[in-house]
Amino acid sequence: MIKNTLGEVSVLFAYPRHLFMLAARLLLAYGFVKPALLKLNDMNATAQWFASLSIPLPTFTAYLVTGIETIAIVLLVLGLFTRPISILLSFVMMGAILFVHESHGFSVSDNGIEIPLYYMLFLFIFASFGAGKISLDNLLFKDDNK
């Protein structure tokens, strides 16, 4: 009885899973819009800011990070190359945690690692589960491993 009920629950609740994947992708892409635009609008300032955080090769890294973030926004929305771009973006998040947020502790109110950590977790989920059914990955490449 319990086994059957749980089986039924799992089937029913699994129905909207691809919708939630889409929502998560869109939300994450939206979250990157502001930081990406901020960097993109003044690349010199970004490079200087990176240098002040003692990030190695600040100018190169600034362009790299801004590039990844900008492309990732588009790709996450489309659900295209979701797994590779999620891994790349998670590296950016690791950098952000290490260089920016780590010294502020955990809590989001202190600008701690909480938010970038959640983002990173989301990105790992995308990398491991794929973009879900509502994505170009599924349409073009039939990513079956979901």
Partner: protein, 566 residues
Amino acid sequence: MNNQNFFANFPLLSADWGVLLKILMVVIVLVLFSMFIYDRFVQRKNQLLINYPLIGRLRYLFYMLRNPMRQYFGDETFYDSFEKLEWVNKVSADENPYLSFSPTKPYGNQKTLFKHANFVKEVSEVQEEFSVTFGEKREIPFVSRSIIGRSAMSDGAISPEGTRAFAIGAHRGAFPINTGEGGLTSNFLASLNLENLTNTDYLEIKEGTWFAKGAYYGIRFLTNREVAQRVYRRMVVRQKDKGSFIFDNQKLLYFRIDWTKDLDSFPKEALHGIPDITFQMGSGLYGVRHHDGTFDKERYKKVMRFAKMTEVKLAQGAKQTGGKLLATKVSDDIAYYRGIPAHQDLISPNRFPYATDMKTFFDFITELQSLSSKPVGFKIVISTKERFEDFAKALKARKEEGKSIADFLTIDGGDGGSATAPLEMMSKIGLPIREALEIVVEVLEDYGLREDLKIIAAEKVLTPDDVIELLCHGADFINIARGFMMSAGCIRARECSGAGGRNCPVGLATMDEAKRSKFLVHQKAKHVENYHHNLLHGIRSLMAVMGKSHVSEFSMDDLTAREYVA
């Protein structure tokens, strides 16, 4: 409020998309340009694209659209006229099929016409009920309640939803339905309700818990029955071959026949609530075979508890080979029904395993008759009079020896029964039904067998006049496949088999879950029933004009063979 202010409420609409549009245009031009370069300078597989890069691709686009779009722009060349197809569609939806002016096919070009009576009858003077009795000498003869049946179409070639629609339509319309060689599947019992059953020992039943039932009612309230039922099925039957279960909408449970149960637990009397089923046995013996492929007598007996008669298929109109089911269509459900491995191409042998010569074949038919106590017949395609006389000789010899002979004969015309067949066989194998029937009737009369064998005929019958023409040629009963397909929503896109990666666009002849699972089973069942009903209605009105009150009065004398044909 002006437009600017209105759109300002929506960030996406108020944003400046100008740059993106320009980028999009540049990307499109770049893609087209690189395709041009690729077609002309890189690829060396396609001659046309080298000389006509990019633009040559239109050829393949139009090729792809040719079959699905043919009927909208092209002339009807598959049937006498486009009006016949329209007739099927209209009567299926129970619309008035009357026409104005004339059909598109020039009337004067027809080879045969019907003779009308000088003083016509009223429709009320024509027989109301149609019936044919098969196997009068058997213990349990089959008395059909129509002279038209749905021809053999396997569950598997047809989607399970499609088969359910046919089965429900056949049950409501009271006409026989032939299983095709795919075996008797649960879907043929789709009209069955457990409410009416006293004995359910032979059924495997799955019932949802309170949770699933609650979800069913909730979803049904929010959407519709079909969607709710689909979700409910997934919740309740959580196994690979879940499609092999059918739904009882009264008690909200799923059931299928459990073939492992003893013969004793199977129903002894004919079941109410299911259509008259003709079980077809093909060369693969699907549904009645052991795992090693040999004939399973016990299973056959169980199957015949549900079916009214057996048809052994030696050949069908357009193909004398065994059926072929591509791996994409061999789903877990099909594997369960047929007793074969799933997701592998299924190729039936060409020759029926128990038909090496006339003696073994007719011995096998006699065995089936004694196993089932029900009528057994066989399906063939005629090639020449001499070849058919071989059958007649063997049958006559058996009759004289006092052995039982086949109860009916299904004659498929060479232009019908195509399913998915090789072109070379469609083009050149099998005699058209009118000539074939002439041979069959003449030979059976010569050998004194006409009274023993009922003749079922089939070949591209769509409308009442097609039916009557074959009755005049000597058929006792008519099988229709295409007409029923169209009534169930077939749009003749010619993408049935799943070959070439394309699936039936209406979900009728595909196992592609996305397409078939949304098939409107109950609406289509109604259409199937309407089509059959209106066929009989049309037959009766033609009979009245021809001055006939009973189909037995038809003969070749009612046809006018015309000489002045352009």
